[in-house]
Structures are given as structure tokens and as C-alpha cells.
Symmetry: C3
Subunit: 440 residues, 3 copies
């Protein structure tokens, strides 16, 4: 469940912050209700704009890692996704995802509702935060899942079918699985599934949808030779990819920190501080481990593996950024760094063409981060975590697969070979990302 | 008028937040004075740094949309503008613009003063916010107007005359028209003109100044053929332009959200939340509509039109981001998306060479956003809005035209044909933006 | 000393804010303890994420200013530095640097400790802020010093020896000199040395380490001709360098503003406002002065000098961004702009190859900003400032020199001439930053 009431009782966990539930209750009187309401809403707004900024991070990361003939298309997709996700989350997403927060009785599996609007009773601050600030924060999360998909499927998927998939993913699929846990659904109620900021609910969901898409879509022309060897297709502008990673790293303070869902008590802000630290150090550890491993395995420090190492560390800590001590956070991130380093060649062996390495970083590290939650947070169980990972994975993968297949056999999802060779920028947008520079 | 006192009584408007003026008055006692003072000042500082960041957004947008031979010059102009605007706003701008906030008696048309300095009575928090935080917030707005001009006139205007124009625009022209409304001047007092965050006061002002400059300066060599056809001059680095748009989008939460001018009550923070939502969804709607329209009209999704669609949506909602319900905000943004899509070919027909499409996005959408305010905010009238649009537009356009003509006939504003062909980077800066890449 | 207790008494200084120590004491009761605790922690978190963002700023600045064959390597170094600094600051740095804040008795010269962890007594908010928020804020400062080094030594230093140096710089050297002042050490206690946000403690430290490295490493092949003339090696992507400068400028509001160390009183937030203003105007003034001077001296506006002018202004104001009136802040920044303009040719005459101009901007402007503190803040003396500059400079330069020499004669620090010609990207990373673009 992802609302303030429950989170306030869990704030007692954490790095020796150790605020008990009792303390939090009494603290609520030290800071007056309206002041707490402002702080709690500010938490959503400030951390929300940081998460919004992650959309730019994905855009730069993906623009830098594709070939120059696809860089304008991937830019367009990334900004379009962010826009569409917002509209869909207003139209249906929020009401599907958060029946609990809206005080509705529901079956725990599926809830439908149309058109969200703010509902703050006049002058009553007992709700703890403005409903609009909460909507904004949840909305920016919604866009993240779709951003992951665009990276994996880059350079060969047609724009409009991709947009259709994105619309359904952000508007319906992501909110459904989200409701199972953050919306007080069956995973939350029956299995105590715990995913603080969305290693599974956001990142793995994006990863599963991307994986299904990669199966249906196939690899880029020329990526794999008949003998199984791989033709590297290096990213066209690596400083942009690095910038994208920095943006994601910055935005992740909002992603994880804001998921404390409250800043209206001293214990909350101390918890957010610890979340910032764990988030930062898991990223650092994933980065450093990926650098060292790529040096050992490939005799070169691989920049794109290093960047994915940082992202892998971030995804890994996202399921539980509050409870771990720092050494545990470093370990969680380090394993994330290992995962991205070894998974890339494995995916290539399976001929899954994941242009930016999103499946290792988001799907695999998302699973890792989620399954390890009970190691530091004993309110979760390995069994409950496995059920959540499995249920959300199965639902997202199967529904995505069906949807990709429907799109494939109706409008078609793959650009023609000719368009792909020419580059989607020219073929679909009629422009080039870098029209003046001569290409080798 | 743009000060806390008045805004607190208008907070009652909005998306069902419905805080009455009475509530706000009583709420002021729930949060103690000093706490409210901190929140209100923090609103200016946090949202102010987001608006400052928009200067980088304009810089990236314009750098990405000019040809590579002008990219260093436009970068220099953008950062220089931001610096100059700050100095001028300290030297004269603030005192011209905000006589009301400084408690001065004035005629409502023009007020002169030199050198602003902070004035916070010791230990007295009844003013509601630190005067420095307010100055900082208003200063970052000032820079925005000039950024718009640089985009339209790129690739052919000489650096130093442009700097002179910018200095006068930010130091004198923008503050004068700003004082008419936000400074409690005649438009505010006599016509109830309403422009929440500056669709007209900031964006249209920039657009009018740019339009006057475009007339005087003429189009780039080779842009228009004698037979009226247009030679496209595509942007040289579209991922940078996309990054710029993302930066602007992020910064706009500060631009519109911070313009609530207060965060010291629960009703204020709820209002800011609703402003974030409307701002985001108007941008999303402008973007999606521009994408769909460009697909229909031109059979291609045009990335630069899509980016301008988002910006057009943002500019459109800026005059009133609080009062509209979400469907109205979506409609306001959508019309912005339509405007940018259809205005670009019209400008080309008129042979107005607007390099980055700033006139449709900032001038036309600014007018649209301002005229539609009464549709959702009944404290404004269509008549009053039209008077404000007309008066500010006439003043800015005429004074700009005179100023550009004076500059033209004294120091000259247009680079020589030879310099323009070579590119301003080489001609004026003696460097190149991308010296190592071979150009086609 | 850099903790809340002392800073609260110094807040009385400043631009007419004039809160007396008495006022602050009484104000502490107006805002309740827990509310102040949240504000103070939020100050560290919000300003901390802005400082974190500066790492991306250095990365873009340096990526844009190196040649394209080294852009991926410099990107990697910058993100790696940020990660490593965080881990080292947890492992040893914080405990070396802040014995005072941790309430330890120490000798004022060196304190050792291993592994920091948060220590917030349950429900006790008298400490004023969460210890984790403080750690986070100090940690992001630590990364900055190393970022400066990478810029100077770019294009010729091997990756791993650089990483070793960085690890020791961030983990040990920076914390030691930092402890002398911010950790209540001998410079603070005996000499009243004053360095508000780190002109000397952060920027000059980075500059000294870079200078020592430049001596040991030597200049890039082909940079200096035997006859003393210089071959310009222009930056490969100037819009990225401009973006980097904008990011640094934005991040500096966090760097200086957050160094107020408190936001829990009205006087604190008024002080932060004034810090924002002085920081912004010193940067503006450095920028404008550098533009004008480069026009006069070189008959061209030099973009990279202009960018360094802004950075020089920022570094200059960092030692005392609160006490100066605005005219003094403008003067301090202007001198920074002069310094960067005239120092670049001097360094070239000395054949010190500083790829991005970091030594003028960070070392020289850091010295200037620190020595001029007593002009506006009479709690500091010119003598005390000189002692601090000299002691920290001597320590950092000598230890760096020894360390660079050890690295040179053991593992070697300089890439082979062949690797350097080919570019470190290909040689060390096995990739290229822009693999598709033809190079001239």
C-alpha cells in the first residue's frame, strides 16, 4: 500500500532512525496539522518534479545510445510518452491504481474509474496532503515504465504502434498491477508484498513489456550474424548518454525519497535522508563494480556498462531504500552492477536485441532488488516477494505479448527493412537528428 | 498585481480546492507567522531556481534548432542574456516593475528607481516572505523574455547590438509593461487584467520584441526563394532541442507554481499542486495535438513541431494555470498545439524568418492563453484581457521597432552576407561549435 | 566550523537582514523544534541534490571542452569520481572531516575514524537536523574537488591511476584540510579562518591537486611549439560546455545557499535568499566582464572564456556569499572574470596545459574569493585568511605532488604517445564518443 497512513507506521524501520509508531503519533502534534500538510504536499511536488526530470534522463540516455539515424525518433518517443502517460493517468490510470487511497471498497484485483479530479475538503488538513500533489507524484511514476520500453525496442519499431502500446501500458496495465500492491490490492493484503518505490511495480513492469516487445519485434538488421557472433552497434553520442544517467541519478532521489510519502514529521525527513544516502551509495556501488568487472572481463572499462551499472544499482535499491544499513545498500547495488555486466552478453547469446541494455538494468535488477527486501525489512517475506514478482511479471509479460502480437498482425509494428536501413528519423519523421554531420 | 496579499484572496478559486478567503485568513493562524514566512520564501527560492534553469532550456532548444555554424553564438547569447538580465533587474528593473510591492505611491504608468536592496525589518515576519526571495523569483522571470528574442533572430544578428537590445528589454521595457499589471498599475487597477504567470507579460512581450526584430532584420540568406517557396534549414542537433524542451517543461513548474507567490497555507500548497497538474497536462495536450496534426497535415510527425506544441501548451496555460478544471486545461493546451502547427507555414508565407518557431509558441499562444482567462476565472473579463494584450503588445512592438531601427541605422544589426554564410561562430567568436565534425 | 550552532549566530551578518543572535534565539521558539528540524534537514536535502547535479555540470563542461577523441573517457571519469567520492566519504571522509560535528574531542590537525552511520536519537529534535541530511550535503561537496582535477588533466592521463588519485583526494586529503576549518580544527580555532562554502576548502583544493598533476603529467602532445607558441585545441562540442556551465550555475545555489546550514528560522531563509542573489550576480558579473575583456584583448568574444568567467565569479563569491552587499558581490565576481581572462595566456606561457581552464577558475578565483572575505565580513582577518590559503594550499599541493610522483614511478600516469594520438576513448575504453561522425 502506498499511502501516508500506512507509511507513517513503517517509518520506524530504517538506519537507526528508529522512530517508533508511537513517536510518530505524538510527533503529529508537535508539528501542527496544516504545517505537516504543507510539508507532505511539498514532498510530493519537489520529489515529483525530480521524477518528471527522469523522463529527460531516459531521453538523453537512449538518444546517446542509439545510432545517429534513430536519435530524433527516440527523442520524440520519449517526450511523447511522458505527455501521453500524464493524460492517461488522469483519464483512467489513477482511479484504477489507487482505489484504496480514494477510500473505495474494491475486490483487490481490478477497479475501474474514469477521470480523476482533486478532492480536498475545505480547510480540512486531516488528510495529510493535498490530493493534487499525490496525483502529480504518482503520475510521474507512471511515465517511467513506458520510457524503459522505448529504449529496448529502439531503431526498428514504428512510431504510432509504439504509441498505442504505451498508451495502454501507462493507462491500464501499469495501474492494474500497481493496484495489487500500492492500491491495497491482493498482493498487499494477502502476501505482504513490499516494493517501496517500484523495483517491480515500475521498473520490472517496463522490463517485461520491453522483453515481450523484443521477442515479437526481433533484432535490428545486421545485429546478429548467422554464426551467432554479434555486430556491435555503438551508441552515437556517449556524453549525452552520460548526461542521461546523471539525470536519472538525480531524479532517483525524488523517486525513492518521495516514496516515503510524507515529510511532515522529523522522523519522516530523517527517513528521507537515509533513503537519499542508500540510493546514492547503491548507485555508486553498482557503477564501481560494473567498471571493475568490465575491466576484468573485457580488459576495457566499458562506459555504457558503467552507466548501466549505476542504473542497475539504482533499480536494485528501489524496492527497499529505507530499511538497509549502508553496507547492505552497497551490497544490493553491487549485485546490480554484477547483473548488468554479465547479462548483456547473455541477452546477445539469446539474440534478444536490447538497444540500451534496459532489460538487465530494469527487469533483472528490479527482480533482484525486490527479492532481497526481506534481508533488511522483516515485515516482508521471501515467499511474498516471489509471489509478487511472479504475478506482476506473468501478467505484464503475457498481456504485453498479446498486445504486441495484435499490433503486429493488424497495423504492423516493424518498420520496413528499407526504412530501418535508412533510419527511422528519415523514414518516419522526414528529418535527421544531426543533418549536417557526415557519417562514416 | 503580483503580491502575496492579493494572491491569498484569490486562492479560493481553483479545482474544487475551494478554500475561501475566510479560510485562508483563519489558516494563517494555524501555521505560525515565521513558519509561513519560511514556506513562502522557500516557494520563491525553489521555484526560482527552476525558472533559472529555463535559461538553460532555451539555450539547448535554440542550440539544437540552429545550424551548426551558429550554435556557439546562440549558446553565448543565451547565457549572456541570463547574466545581463540579473544585473539590469537589480540596477533598475525591479524598482520600475514593483512599486506596489515596495509600498510606493505611483501613477500606474511609470515608476523609476535605481538599485534594489533587501529590506526585511528585523524579526518581523508579517511581510510574509523575505524580500530577497521575491526579488530572486522576479529576476529569473525577467531573463525569460529576452531568451525568446534570441531564438527568432538567430544566425544573422550581430552579437553586441543584440546585447544592447536585450539590456534595454530586460532592464526597462519588460519592467514597464510588467508594472502595469503585476506592479498594481493601470491595467490591474482599471481593467482587472489578469495574467497569472505571464502569458502576456513575459512570453508575448518576448514574442513582440522578436517580431519587430524579425521585420527589421530580414530573413536568413537563402531561406526564401523568389517564387515564395521555402528552403528548409533544419536544426543541427535535435536531441539537444528535445533536452531543451524537457528543461523548459520542468522549469515551468517553477514558473507557474511559484507564481502562486505563497506556500504558507494548506490552501496555497493545494493550489500549487493544481497548478502543477494543469501546467503538465496543458503541455501534454499541446504536444499530442501537434503530433497528430503534423501527421495529418504533413504526413509525418514533425519533431520540432511536437516540441513547439509542448511549449505552446505551456505558454497557453500560463495566464491562468490555477482556475481551470483539468478538461479546460487540456483544451487550452490543445489549442496551443494547433496554433504552433498552423502558424509556422503562415509565418513562412509572410517571409518572417523565425528560426526556432518562437513567435507562434510565445506570442500567439501567449495571446490565446490570456484572452481565454475569463472562461475559467470570472474575476477577469474578455474586454479587460483584450485591453491588456493590446496595450502591452502595442507598447512592446512599437518601442522594439524603434529601438531595432535605431540600432540598425547606427551600429548596424545584421552580420555581413559573408559572415552569415561562414557562420557567426567563426565570424564573431572566431571558433566553431563542433570544430572536428565534417560538415556536408 | 560548519555546523548549525555556529552558523545560527552568524546569520546576523548579511545584506541588511540584520537578524541579531538574540532574535534567532527567540525565533527558535516561534517555529517549533520539530518544524525547524524538518526545514533544516530539507535545506540539506534540496540543496544537496542541487550540488549533486554539479557533477553532471562538470561532466558536460569537460566533455564539451575536450577534443572528441577524449569525450567518452572524460564522461566516464566524471561519473566515476562522483560515485567513488560518495563511498570514500562514508568509509573515512566524514569522520576525518567533522569530528566537531560528531562531538569528538580532537587535536585540531588530524582525526581518524572509519565508517559513518546516522545517529539521530529517537524523537529528539534538539540536534536541529537529521544527521543523514548533513552527511548527504557534505558528501556531495566532497565530489566537487575531484571533478576539477579531471578537467585539467584530460586527454592524456590514464584512467586507473587517475581513479587512485581521486580516491585518496576525496577520501583523505580533502577531508583533512576540510577538518582544519569546517571540522573546528586549528584554522578555525586559532586563526578565525573563514570560508563560507569552500572557495579554498573545495575549489582551491581541487585546483592545487590539478596543478600538481599538470606539472608531473606534462602538456598534451603538440600543444606547445618549441618556439613557445601555442596550438589551440578547441573544444569539440561547445553547446555541451555551455550546458555544463548552466548546470554548475544552478547547482551553485545549492552549494552556497545550502551552506547556510539552516532554514529553520525566518532569518535563515532570508540569509539564503541573499546568498542566492549574491551568487547569481557574482556569476553574472564574472561572465559579463570576461566577455567584455575578451572582446577588448582578443577582438573576439571568446565563449569558453565567458563560461569560465561565470564559473570564476561563482568560485570567487563562494568564500563569503552572505555578508557582501550586492555591489560588493558584483565586484568580487568581476575580479573573478578578470582573473580567468588574463590567467589563461599566462598559464600557456608557463606551458601548464590546463585543458578546461580549471586552474584559473577554481584555484586563482578561490584564492581571490577567500582573501577578500574580510572586506565584507569583519569576523575574518586578512592575516587569518592568508594563513588558511597558504596552509591548505601547501598541504594539498605537496601531498598531491608526492602522490602523483609515486603513481608516475610505479604504475605510470601518462598514456603512451600512441594512445594519446589515437585518443583515450579508443585506447582505454575501446570505443568512441561519436563513432559515426567523420573527423576533420
Amino acid at each position: 500500500m502506498r499511502d501516508l497512513t500506512k507509511r507513517m507506521t513503517r517509518v520506524g524501520l530504517g538506519l537507526g532512525v528508529g522512530a517508533s509508531a508511537l513517536l510518530v503519533a505524538s510527533a503529529a502534534y508537535a508539528v501542527d496539522d496544516e504545517t505537516a500538510y504543507i510539508f507532505n504536499s511539498l514532498n510530493f511536488l519537489m520529489h515529483g518534479f525530480l521524477v518528471m526530470w527522469m523522463a529527460a534522463g531516459f531521453c538523453m540516455l537512449e538518444s546517446g545510445l542509439v545510432r545517429s539515424k534513430s536519435a530524433a525518433t527516440i527523442s520524440l518517443k520519449n517526450i511523447a510518452i511522458y505527455g501521453i502517460a500524464g493524460i492517461m493517468f488522469w483519464l483512467v490510470g489513477y482511479k484504477i491504481m489507487y482505489p484504496g487511497t480514494m477510500g473505495e471498497d474494491w475486490n483487490g484485483y481490478f477497479n475501474f474509474g474514469l477521470i480523476w479530479s482533486a478532492s480536498d475538503p475545505e480547510g480540512d488538513f486531516s488528510g495529510g496532503y493535498s490530493s493534487g500533489s499525490d496525483w502529480f507524484f504518482q503520475m510521474v511514476f507512471c511515465a517511467t515504465a513506458a520510457s524503459i520500453v522505448s529504449g529496448t525496442l529502439a531503431e526498428r519499431i514504428k512510431i504510432w504502434p509504439f504509441m498505442v502500446f504505451t498508451t495502454i501500458l501507462t493507462g491500464i496495465m501499469y495501474p492494474i498491477t500497481g493496484s495489487w500492491e500500492w492500491g491495497t490490492g491482493w498482493l498487499d493484503t494477502n502476501f505482504g508484498f513490499s516494493d517501496f518505490a517500484g523495483s517491480t511495480l515500475v521498473h520490472s513492469v517496463g522490463g517485461w513489456a520491453a522483453l515481450a516487445g523484443a521477442f515479437v519485434l526481433g533484432s535490428r538488421i545486421g545485429k546478429y550474424n548467422p554464426d551467432g557472433s554479434v555486430n556491435p552497434m555503438p551508441g552515437s553520442m556517449l556524453p549525452l548518454a552520460t548526461l542521461g544517467t546523471f539525470i536519472l541519478w538525480l531524479g532517483w532521489f525524488g523517486f525513492n525519497g518521495g516514496s516515503q510519502l510524507a515529510m511532515g514529521t522529523g522522523a519522516d525527513v530523517a527517513a528521507i535522508s537515509n533513503i537519499y544516502i542508500n540510493t546514492n551509495l547503491a548507485a555508486a556501488s553498482g557503477l564501481v563494480v560494473a567498471m571493475i568487472m568490465s575491466q576484468i572481463l573485457f580488459k576495457k572499462v566499458d562506459l555504457s556498462i558503467a552507466l548501466n551499472g549505476a542504473i542497475g544499482g539504482l533499480v536494485s535499491i528501489t524496492a527497499e531504500p529505507l530499511a538497509p544499513t549502508i553496507p547492505i545498500a552497497l551490497m544490493v547495488g553491487a549485485v546490480g552492477g554484477v547483473i548488468v555486466t554479465i547479462a548483456v552478453p547473455i541477452l546477445d547469446k539469446l539474440r534478444i536485441d536490447d538497444v540500451v541494455g534496459a532489460i538487465p538494468a530494469h527487469l533483472l535488477c528490479g527482480i533482484w532488488g525486490t527479492i532481497i527486501v526481506p534481508f533488511s525489512n522483516d515485515s516482508a517475506t521471501y515467499y511474498g516477494q516471489a509471489v509478487g514478482i511472479g504475478a506482476i511479471g506473468a501478467f505484464t509479460f503475457v498481456v504485453s505479448l498479446v498486445l504486441w502480437l495484435i499490433l503486429k498482425f493488424t497495423v504492423g509494428i516493424r518498420a520496413s527493412a528499407e526504412d530501418e536501413e535508412m533510419g527511422l528519423d528519415k523514414a518516419e519523421l522526414g528529418i535527421e537528428a544531426y543533418p549536417e554531420f557526415t557519417r562514416r
